[in-house]
């Protein structure tokens, strides 16, 4: 059967599964809608958190990025996993004990202030929308390649599905569909990784195969990483495993970006909110452990996939005549994500360091003498002739490894599962923040359960439309604003929640001043460097890493301001005291 037929089958089966689950889990009350009735078993919550967290970026883009970055890819690997240690030790158990619905809820109640609640609310919505936009692009890429439909049609299908299961089942429906989505995405990822590992090294465990010797070909018997280092040097790239080489990120940048991603992960509202859904403090702790375990299965496999892909790409493309190019290359050329310019007119593809031409490919619509799609871009004067978009690595891997068509289809379904599970988690954050924190807590305290549910569902609709709009008309700055999501989460939520739990003396003046200073500095810096082309002026730290500085600033300002103003009222100090003891979380009151 063809790839297309298999893809339709896989997508149809998996989407049917998600919708079936959503229908079975439909809810009527706000507690079920916002936090799944706080009754999700920890193992299921771990699976759901992993699916929620692993977005299109983790599934589709990460291995590709590592493949191009080598060692430096560690910023994503450590950054996006290390945050769970902070979550499990510093946040999850206490937020569960506090036991309300949203992150702004905690900030608003702990700091006895509507201003603090509003600041937290705006950040939560901004962070979540930034993130949703990225997911919709992921959906578009997968659909356009695998279902061979128009990107817009693909986005519409995705919007309809997410709206259906988020609006119907709320957090409860989402939790159980995410459990299914985790299973789909991890199966797809691992099957490909194992096959690649066997093909390249003969070792079936990718985590070990990655450190094993190459089975056949001209590099047979060499360790894979040693071979990659040697090939890289020959072709003018920097060594795959070496750190902070010439033209690479320096140690301070790697340090700051890793820290910002860790702290940002621990401060992302859609991740934090998942720990409200389990029945107890003990369950919140262990479910953070399960979440990281399930995430680690993908995150320790991804660098192996990255190394295999790097090796395979060089092995199958470099110095090959275009006429004999593997079929995956010509297939992906049709999507415009790979391109070849024959700079020296020899009909052979040369893969070297540097960009083959300026910018992303703009095809002229004509084909060259070897059948390649011609580009209008100005060629650069280096010897590299190949353009390969990083986003294709994972999706093209099964084809590169000559796996059966059903595996290719499964990977497509996995990519969709990753994008849609994260999108739905974010939609719930947006809708519960608006309907609970803005509408119920700040505008209409008399709202009935029914009114609040209606507002939630309307908000999901609005958020889906916004997300879909950006999926169809991707703003050119998507890549630029991703740094915002982590920078903001790191410089606003993380310090304010930590201080709320670990310092009884922290008062509302300190928290508001800290959040304002942290976010203000971080946003100002990112806007300056990303949109106005100002050189990174603070110790050369780039936009991705500046959240670390924003976080430190937030802590400092909060300490100074709170020590100069009066202590929080007694009932708040008692609240902090009670958060620290696990007993009684199950009985947390609805409000």
């Amino acid at each position: 059967m063809s790839i297309l037929a298999w893809t339709y089958i896989m997508v149809f089966i998996t989407f049917g599964l998600y919708l079936g689950i959503a229908w079975r889990c439909r809810v009527q009350d706000t507690k079920g809608f916002y936090v799944a009735g706080a009754g999700v078993p920890p193992l299921a919550n771990g699976l759901a958190t992993a699916a929620d967290w692993m977005s299109a970026a983790s599934f589709i883009s990460m291995a590709g990025m590592i493949s191009f970055l080598g060692y430096t890819g560690a910023v994503y690997l450590m950054g996006w996993t290390g945050g769970y240690v902070l979550l499990a030790l510093l946040l999850a158990p206490y937020l569960r004990k506090f036991g309300k619905f949203t992150v702004p809820d905690f900030v608003g109640d702990r700091y006895y202030s509507s201003t603090a609640r509003l600041v937290a609310l705006i950040c939560a919505i901004f962070v979540s929308i930034t993130y949703v936009v990225g997911q919709m692009r992921g959906v578009g890429i997968v659909f356009s390649r695998f279902l061979e439909v128009d990107v817009n049609t693909g986005v519409f299908i995705g919007m309809a599905i997410v709206f259906f299961y988020a609006a119907l089942g709320g957090m409860k429906g989402i939790t159980w569909t995410q459990v299914a989505q985790y299973c789909v995405l991890i199966t797809a990822f691992v099957i490909t990784a194992v096959s690649l590992s066997i093909k390249v090294t003969g070792n079936p465990i990718p985590q070990l195969g990655f450190g094993s010797t190459i089975a056949e070909g001209q590099y047979a018997g060499q360790y894979l990483l040693t071979a990659l280092d040697n090939i890289a040097t020959d072709l003018g790239f920097r060594e795959y495993t070496s750190a902070f080489g010439p033209g690479n990120m320096n140690m301070l940048s790697v340090f700051c970006i890793t820290m910002a991603l860790m702290v940002g992960t621990a401060g992302l509202p859609h991740v934090i909110i998942r720990f409200y859904t389990v029945p107890s403090v003990k369950a919140a702790r262990i479910s953070a452990g399960y979440a990281l375990l399930f995430i680690a299965i993908l995150y320790t496999t991804a660098p192996a996939v990255a190394a295999f892909a790097r090796y395979n790409i060089i092995d199958s493309l470099n110095e090959q005549p275009y006429a004999e190019a593997p079929s995956w290359f010509t297939n992906w050329e049709q999507t415009g994500l790979v391109a070849w310019v024959d700079k020296n007119d020899d009909g052979i593809m040369q893969f070297r360091a540097g960009a083959p031409f300026s910018g992303i490919p703009r095809f002229t619509g004509e084909t060259g003498e070897h059948g390649q799609r011609l580009v209008a871009n100005e060629p650069t004067d280096n010897a590299n002739e190949l353009y390969i978009d990083r986003d294709i690595i994972v999706l093209a891997n099964p084809e590169i490894a000559n796996l059966p068509n059903w595996v290719i289809a499964l990977v497509a379904a996995g990519g969709l599962a990753a994008a849609l599970s994260t999108a739905s988690g974010l939609l719930i954050v947006i809708s519960s923040s608006v309907s609970h924190d803005l509408y119920y807590r700040m505008i209409n305290r008399q709202a009935t359960e029914k009114q609040r549910m209606l507002v939630s569902r309307i908000m999901i609709g609005v958020a889906v439309i916004i997300a879909g709009y950006f999926g169809i008309n991707p703003p050119g700055f998507v890549a630029q604003i991703v740094a915002f999501a982590f920078g903001l989460a790191a410089s606003s939520f993380f310090p304010v929640i930590i201080l709320g739990i670990f310092s009884k003396r922290m008062n509302k003046e300190g928290a508001i001043a800290g959040m304002t200073a942290g976010i203000g500095f971080t946003m100002f810096y990112i806007i300056q460097t990303r949109f106005f082309g100002v050189d990174p002026w603070f110790l050369g730290i780039t936009a991705e890493g500046i959240g670390t500085v924003g976080m430190v600033l937030n802590f400092l300002v909060a300490f100074v301001v709170s020590s100069m103003t009066k202590a929080p009222p007694q009932e708040i100090q008692d609240l902090v005291e009670s958060i620290r003891s696990p007993r009684g979380a199950g009985a947390a009151v609805d409000h």
Partner: protein, 83 residues
């Protein structure tokens, strides 16, 4: 006067500090600050610093959370604050 609750909280903070110390050492010290010297050693086919950055630290992170859960559950029972 120090109450039982203060003692529980103090022990909890000490445990968090130790575990986060290990977290910082494997991730930031081995994976980033000392990556070049560690790369002179190898673990099978991996340069050691590279291994910590792309594999080892993640394994340690997972173990840290489970160790924390185990010790905290034990302590919750000891101080009778469990559910």
């Amino acid at each position: 006067m120090k109450t039982r609750m203060d003692e529980y909280w103090g022990k909890n903070l000490r445990l968090i500090a130790i575990l986060l110390g290990i977290w910082a050492v494997v991730g930031f010290v081995f994976g980033i600050l000392l990556v070049n010297p560690l790369n002179n050693f190898s673990l099978g086919g991996f340069p050691l610093g590279f291994w910590f950055a792309q594999q080892g630290s993640i394994y340690v992170f997972v173990v840290l959370i489970f160790v924390y859960c185990y010790l905290m559950n034990k302590m919750d029972r000891e101080y009778d604050v469990q559910e």
